[in-house]
């Protein structure tokens, strides 16, 4: 008995040492380039910090300034609009597309999955520049098609008009966000417990009933995951804004992420930018927690 205890103590020690040695390379990068900067983001948000001079402690001044800064409030509003529109549309669309795709045969199924994923792989820059051309005032196909179908009677400067610019950006964002949710839903729908579906069909349930009463509950964890990743992605919408409108016209398409970039890398106000980063992280955490709550409430019955 005593011998075994000593053995296992030696084993625990060996496991601990080797465990940390295996973790070490990863931890160096994780702590050095993720945890440390996160900590510094919070820390620096309490300072007036810029290039070429030491930081000045200002307490909560950056945060106070944020909530009286009309451009920040505008950016916050735009970001919330983007999230509130794109998250439900992305989830609903990908669920519908996946429900059609997962019933198809092998090659056809992977072809569709692949096509909807292509805009993600193509990369935000390549996707954005081609859309910029399609939205163009004179040579763009949207104006041409609009006039050909008869919806438009004159060319619209899509990206230069504050009424349309944000909508145009959301449309591109949608095409680049449905890829991953579709892949996830196709796999989740394929894993739904078939005995339950069969039992329900025997009891005479309609397809719609089977879907909402059985499948929906079973794919809830996937839905939750998709909601959270789509929310995070939509909050971080940046490349589209920077390449298409640079936040214009007149800050009408600023998002928080773009405004952070603008303050930090154009005006070099690091402390102020970091304060926005902290607020953004808090907002995302609240949204995620909220979705978690709703999803939990939905699965528990």
């Amino acid at each position: 008995m005593g011998k075994r205890g000593a053995m296992s103590r030696a084993l625990v020690r060996r496991e601990t040492i080797s465990g940390y040695l295996f973790l070490l390379p990863s931890l160096i990068f994780f702590v050095g380039f993720v945890v440390y900067p996160m900590f510094m983001c919070i820390f620096t948000s309490f300072f007036d910090s810029t290039m070429g001079r030491s930081d000045i402690f200002v307490g909560l001044a950056n945060y106070k300034e944020l909530f009286t800064d009309p451009i920040f409030l505008r950016a916050l509003k735009n970001t919330v609009i983007i999230v509130v529109v794109s998250v439900p549309v992305t989830c609903a669309f990908s669920l519908w597309a996946a429900s059609v795709i997962y019933k198809l045969q092998g090659p056809l199924r992977s072809a569709f999955r692949c096509i909807f994923y292509l805009p993600v792989v193509t990369g935000s820059v390549a996707v954005t520049v081609v859309w910029k051309w399609m939205y163009n005032n004179y040579y763009g196909i949207f104006n041409y098609l609009g006039k050909a179908v008869g919806i438009l009677d004159k060319n619209i400067n899509w990206l230069g008009d504050a009424n349309f610019a944000l909508g145009c950006i959301i449309l591109i964002l949608l095409t680049t966000s449905v890829g991953q949710p579709i892949v996830l839903y196709v796999s989740a729908l394929g894993n739904v417990d078939h005995s339950l579906v069969e039992a329900a069909q025997v009891d005479g349930a309609t397809n719609l009933q089977v879907f909402w009463k059985i499948k929906w509950a079973q794919i809830m964890p996937t839905t939750l995951y998709i909601l959270i990743i789509t929310t995070i992605n939509s909050f971080q919408c940046f490349a589209l804004i920077q390449l298409l409108t640079s936040g214009g016209p007149n800050h009408s398409t600023d998002t928080i992420m773009y405004y952070i970039y603008y303050e930090a890398f154009k005006l070099f106000r690091y402390g102020y930018g970091n304060a926005m980063g902290v607020i953004l992280a808090i907002i995302i955490a609240i949204f995620s927690a909220l979705q978690f709550r709703l999803a939990k409430a939905d699965t528990s019955y």
């Binding site: 080797s18 292509l118 820059v125 390549a126 520049v129 040579y139 095409t175 069969e198």
Partner: protein
């Protein structure tokens, strides 16, 4: 019963027909931007700037690519030998080729570093019973839920302090540090049978030998998924590249096109040639390794 169900699934209903048609239509719309990039890059200036879209180039010209490749030149590579401080440079080539070399090198380095560190860490978290394991894992999960971009401003200062600013390492290291890979490899490592590890230990195999001979072969599909995932994400990580890289010799292909666009905002032929140069290699990689990629996405979400 089983047959009954199958016939139910495959029965052709009007709803099913309509939705498949709609899906095909949408798939074509999703392919359209890609089609427009490729055909646009071969159109003449006149066809590009026509108010009535030219759906198919009447003649395929390579002038846009010629323009892209004759714009600027750069060395094919510049390698500084550590400690000696000597720099070896490659022959002079069009700048766009250098962007491509930089992007490939950056993505491959990020991929290799991520796979090695994440496989080791994932194995440790899944199979080693050490003190503090749960704590390390919860920190990793929390970090994954945070927006990546909030760390960018502090990263710039850190990289300047380490004298890595405006080098490709400044982009590579934060990608390696991002904990998704560890999480994914932990999921894959959970499937390793404990008895095999126990048997290896009984045989007196060293930890490293056990890892290389038993763990790595068993989690190979996971490594494949992570490799392709990291490669594609690094290639397209525009924001990080934008703030970390500035000189002509460190530009990547996404940055190069963004620069093309800001300098020649109306020469869409040239910009489409750049976009094609960025998109075609990465799309090829994606289509070849699609299976692994899909597996990686699904595995990463299992307990997400």
């Amino acid at each position: 019963m089983k047959n009954n169900l199958n016939s139910g699934v495959h029965r052709t209903t009007p709803y099913k027909v309509i939705s498949v048609i709609l899906l095909v239509f949408l798939a074509l719309l999703f392919l359209f931007p890609l089609y427009w990039i490729v055909t646009g890059s071969f159109k003449t200036m006149k066809e590009i700037n026509s108010a009535t879209p030219v759906w198919w180039p009447s003649e395929w010209v390579t002038t846009n690519y010629e323009k892209l490749f004759s714009r600027q030149t750069a060395n094919l590579f510049d390698i500084t030998i550590p400690f000696v401080g000597k720099t070896i440079s490659g022959p002079e080539v069009p700048a766009a080729i250098r962007w491509l070399v930089n992007t490939v090198w950056m993505s491959v380095a990020a991929m290799i570093f991520t796979c090695v560190t994440a496989t080791m860490a994932g194995y440790a978290l899944a199979k080693k019973r050490f003190i503090g394991r749960k704590l390390v894992f919860s920190i990793i999960i929390c970090a994954m839920a945070l927006p990546k971009q909030v760390i960018l401003i502090p990263l710039i200062r850190e990289m300047s302090g380490l004298e890595l600013y405006n080098t490709l390492w400044a982009v590579i290291f934060p990608i390696v540090g991002w904990p998704f890979g560890v999480f994914l490899m932990k999921q894959f490592s959970e499937t390793i049978p404990g008895e095999m590890l126990e048997a290896a230990r009984m045989d007196g195999a060293s930890e490293i030998k056990t890892f290389l001979r038993i763990v790595v072969p068993l989690v190979k599909p996971g490594i494949g998924a992570l490799a392709i995932f990291t490669f594609i994400n690094s290639w397209n990580d525009y924001f990080m590249q934008l703030i970390m890289l500035s000189s002509n010799s460190t530009l990547t292909i996404p940055l190069g096109i963004a620069k093309l666009q800001s300098e020649n905002s109306t020469d869409y032929g040239l910009i489409m040639a750049g976009a094609a140069l960025a998109a075609v290699p990465i799309l090829t990689v994606f289509i070849i390794f699609q299976k692994y990629f899909t597996q990686g996405i699904t595995m990463g979400a299992v307990k997400g």
